[in-house]
């Protein structure tokens, strides 16, 4: 049995990663400020990873062979520019140093599609230039730069998951899909942009499962975690309108397109599909149905 430590386990993606890791036979330890209800865990370690020496202590206590590091500052909107990103770079480096020093073997970390230069649209690992435009993207990109070098020096096996657009239960209500579904279910008008921008959406349960699959293999380097399917904001909104039977609430063009918003952000999914061998379980329709059902019960 391999022992994995998961950070950010109570978060949007983390709760699904934990479940998927347990299903794959990992002995799952979690570290963080929150708790994870309903998952068979070996142990929960209450710790603030931003506190000095917190990482050292939890790594010594658990002695994990695998580390899945998902914890990060997580305020939608603010995350793009907050200086909290810098604190999480520091805390993440301290965590990985402690893991390497304690003889850890396999490391999976959460990067972001915002590391890529979005002017290119199609994002392919090792091909598309990296030119993050935000402090969040810069911080993740810089973290990868250092950790990849550290992994080389220490003989750590590192996978760096570049996560694209995630939706599903427990999504923050200020984000696109959650906000849209809540409006439709509440019978309120959904004010949207023209909606032509193409994005790559993946259901959060599939994203969590992808992290477990990454922990459970030896594929190294950056790996996109996306569906590989381009979906316009208009298309996902129309599908939500259809599934809630409230298409008349959709108001396209009610807000302007964000200046500089790229026409396409799409994952090359070949590494995830072929090398990791991962296939998403949810179609966009099934994923939205699941999301709508969850919000229906939650509200």
């Amino acid at each position: 049995v391999s022992r994995v430590l998961v950070t950010g386990a109570s978060g949007f993606i983390g709760r699904h990663a934990v479940t998927a890791l347990a299903e794959r036979g990992f002995e799952v330890h979690v570290a963080g400020r929150g708790s994870v209800p309903g998952v068979p865990l070996a142990a929960t370690h209450r710790v603030d990873l931003l506190a000095p020496d917190a990482a050292d202590a939890v790594i010594r206590a658990v002695a994990p062979s695998h580390l899945v590091h998902l914890a990060w500052y997580d305020q939608p909107g603010a995350v793009w520019t907050s200086t909290e990103n810098v604190r999480w770079v520091e805390a993440s480096l301290a965590l990985v140093r402690a893991f390497a020093a304690a003889g850890g073997r396999r490391l999976v970390m959460a990067g972001t599609c915002a590391e890529y230069d979005w002017a290119h649209g199609f994002c392919s690992e090792g091909v598309t230039p990296l030119a993050p435009a935000t402090l969040y993207g810069r911080s993740k990109h810089a973290l990868h730069t250092v950790v990849a070098g550290l992994a080389d020096e220490c003989g750590l096996s590192l996978a760096w998951a570049r996560v694209f657009f995630v939706y599903g239960p427990h999504e923050h209500p200020s984000r696109l899909v959650a906000g849209l579904v809540r409006s439709l279910l509440g019978g309120e008008p959904a004010r949207l942009s023209e909606g032509s921008q193409l994005r790559d959406f993946l259901h959060v349960e599939d994203v969590g499962e992808a992290f477990a699959a990454l922990a459970d293999c030896d594929v190294k380097g950056p790996v996109n975690v996306g569906s590989g399917a381009p979906t316009s904001v208009r298309a996902i909104a129309e599908l939500a309108g259809e599934l809630t039977a409230r298409p008349e609430l959709l108001h396209f063009g009610a807000i302007p397109m964000r200046p500089g918003d790229p026409p396409l952000v799409l994952a090359d999914r070949r590494r995830l599909a072929t090398e990791v061998g991962f296939t998403p379980r949810f179609t966009l329709r099934a994923g939205l149905e699941d999301t709508i059902a969850w919000w229906g019960e939650a509200t």
Copy 2:
């Protein structure tokens, strides 16, 4: 009077940066583990910047408007691969966060020519791709990535000095020029490679002065700190042989060229010369004479 805090002030470059800053009228505070003899300082703050909260404390105590951050892990050879580089990324980020939070205005940090992809040889800021091949180069590059984003968000004025090949008094004896001069002065054979590789050498006093000039202006972004003059290892060795009158001690070809050692690493000096307005004081000959005189007294 502007108040500058200098880290790494007792180091190879730092001692000259401190002198040059004082000459320009700065109120100079230094933070570090060592002391700086013979320089008129406002205050020395004894602090281990790797200790938690050390940065916060010293920034609060000094409240500097300017920060020149030179401190780093500094063991020649080991610096390329040591995990200490990662600790210095963490400590540097904590320092800059504290500086920004305390209302700091102008920040000058030490980067390295090892951030560039050396396959290109000629290193021009904003043109030559960055592809550091070592943990040291990755760490500096990543630090710049985050700090540049932080500076944008906080309205900090940031200059990132990419330092090329530095020589002069107090250089670590295991490094090229110091080792060469010591061999020649000691009457011992100097075992060298074939020596065709072209590098960009600048006397350490000029490097220190360049940091002071960067602190004393508002030029933003990466700025190469180099001479702009390509000098082969053979040429610098032959000049040292001539100046010590011991050319017969030079044994070119006694050791192999390092595999992958690039034929050229040269700074584009236009930003430093034109935008910062900096001109080196030492020619290579004068710089070597100064270095030989210093080692003659030191040994």
